[in-house]
Amino acid sequence: MKAVRISGERQAELIDLPDLEAKGEYMVVKIHATPMCTEYKAYRAGHLWQGIGHEAAGEVVEVAQPGKVKVGDRVAVMPQLPCGRCALCLKGEYIHCQYLENLTEATGYEGGNGTYAQYVLKQDWLLLPLPDGMSYEHAGMACCGLGPTFGAMQLMQVDAFDTVLVTGLGPVGLGAVVNAVYRAARVIGVEGQPFRANLAQELGAETVIDPAEEGALEQLMELTDGLGIDKAIDCCGAPRRSACVLTRRDARGTSPSSAKQAS
């Protein structure tokens, strides 16, 4: 099968890897859509990497034993190789599993576990069946396109009463806008890249503030009648622009001036 390998600084190539075989709970999925995530950072830096990618949607084509999905099922592929047996896995928090499996030990396959490939091996319980009519492109968004910010909004219980701040409107932050709009929350974004700022507004963000502009925090306070933000999701990773710094709303009535000092 064909797969992508990062072969140097700003170098990537297609390589031929051995065909996959189902083994145990590991099923073979034929990939039809692979959303790109942060692999570009390794491409830019030239980190040699085979088996890249962790997002995909496709079709189960081979199983070794009966499982939660069967041949022919259309599925979204979930990330990582969690053990499925520890306390975190058993309560659904497999993404934080501390006992990740080694694909080669588990299946004998040595080509890597990436989704920048025509097929991938994945445990049956990490394959989410797709509703009829859902495209593979949309289904692929069940991973990082929508997943991290959906998880954050579940934790924060975002709803229509909330104003949500999203700092950083890259592929994950844009997903936060979609998730918040779905929940009928009001969205304010923080992003300096014009294409992404515009796209966020097309997706339903009410306003996007450029963090490099003078008075960004004041603008935020004005937009919220001096109250500040209810809930925020940081998707930028830049500490000075993070949601933590820009958020000042709390249950104890902190004055606006303390937020200014904090910024």
Partner: protein, 71 residues
């Protein structure tokens, strides 16, 4: 930490993904947001052109980029 978190009384969560028990709910979001996802996915690209796709990502002028492994 004190100024940015404690004195504001913030609750901080780390969210990398979602609980497996919410899988049906994220499918619900996807079904309900088809038009928005078509906008969020700004580019699709054959996997054979992955370099061009990476270069596009480096410009920042894109939302989500989707590769097609069989093209």
């Amino acid at each position: 930490m004190s100024q940015d978190l404690i004195r504001k009384g913030l609750t901080l969560h780390g969210a990398w993904h979602y609980n497996l028990g919410d899988a049906s709910r994220i499918m619900q979001v996807i079904r309900g947001c088809g038009d928005l996802l078509d906008k969020q996915i700004t580019h699709t690209c054959p996997m054979s052109s992955v370099r061009e796709a990476f270069e596009l990502q480096l410009t920042g002028d894109c939302g989500k980029v989707v590769l097609y492994p069989w093209e």
